[in-house]
């Protein structure tokens, strides 16, 4: 999802708690809204690393990208759900949500293009897309693979037969020179 934010005063990543939103100030993920990776526990969500261990100079904290200020294909773009580690001393800026996210049910290829920020197609939409879903595409790919595999096998057998007849000693001009090895 797209995001817009401004920041000035930095904090340390080790100060972040589970569920906090922040933007790293460098060197990585500088265009991304991130949060600490956390897991469910009886006491509620908690980060992978205890609070005391985060201030270890060698501590590496797992962070998850939630949103990005730049679009797909641009430098420093990372998709939502991207997981990486940053040092606990990495500078960050805490963020808060100022406008909520609005969602719509995805309806296939056109919605994917819409979500990617692509302009609408100039020509009339097709009555049926070439592939309605990835499963249909995968089935066609598998069928194509089977057909190609059978053709490759047939060609390979034909080639072996030709090669065997071509190098047979009796087919040579001087069969006595054919190696027995």
């Amino acid at each position: 999802m797209k995001a817009s934010f401004r920041f000035t005063a930095p904090n340390m990543l080790a100060e972040a708690q589970a569920g906090n939103l922040f933007v790293p100030l460098g060197p990585d993920l500088v265009e991304c809204v991130c949060t600490l990776r956390c897991i469910a526990s009886p006491d509620g969500p908690r980060a992978d690393m205890p609070a005391a261990a985060r201030f270890n100079p060698d501590a590496e904290l797992a962070v998850v990208v939630l949103a990005c200020r730049v679009g797909r294909g641009e430098p420093e773009y990372y998709p939502p759900g991207y997981v990486t580690t940053l040092p606990g001393a990495a500078p960050i800026q805490f963020l808060q949500l100022s406008a909520p996210l609005q969602l719509q049910a995805s309806n296939g290829i056109q919605d994917v293009a819409h979500s990617a920020g692509l302009p609408p197609c100039a020509e009339a939409p097709r009555p049926a897309p070439l592939y309605a879903d990835l499963d249909a595409m995968q089935r066609d790919m598998d069928m194509l693979h089977v057909i190609n595999s059978s053709r490759i096998d047939a060609l390979s057998r034909h080639r072996h037969a030709l090669h065997a007849s071509a190098v047979a000693p009796e087919s040579l001009a001087r069969p006595e020179l054919a190696s027995r090895l």
Binding site: F5, F7, T35, L95
Partner: protein, 96 residues
């Protein structure tokens, strides 16, 4: 951040197995549609697992039961989910 992070939850329109969701695509669970999820990716690739996939919460609404952004969830590959896309992106500001 968590409350009202999502202002509109769409009605069910199309269902897909979670294994066919591409990295970066947002989706909702059928049994708990108050959290927006994406699959966890490492350098653009999904985490290798034969039966399960890992998803992460990226936004919640006020009906969410204790989930926070960044929380990992383990989902069976054959679980059907509802893919969604954003009509209006969320906006963030510096915390006061």
């Amino acid at each position: 951040m968590h409350a009202h992070a999502v202002s509109a939850v769409p009605a069910p329109k199309s269902l897909k197995p979670v294994s066919s969701i591409r990295p970066g695509q947002h989706f909702l669970r059928l049994d708990s549609p108050n959290e927006v999820l994406v699959l966890v990716s490492f350098a653009g690739m999904e985490a290798a697992d034969s039966l399960f996939l890992w998803a992460v919460v990226v936004a919640t609404n006020h009906d969410s039961a204790g989930y926070v952004p960044g929380q990992l969830l383990k989902i069976a590959r054959n679980t059907h989910v509802r893919p969604v896309h954003e009509v209006r992106p969320a906006a963030y500001a510096r915390e006061q």
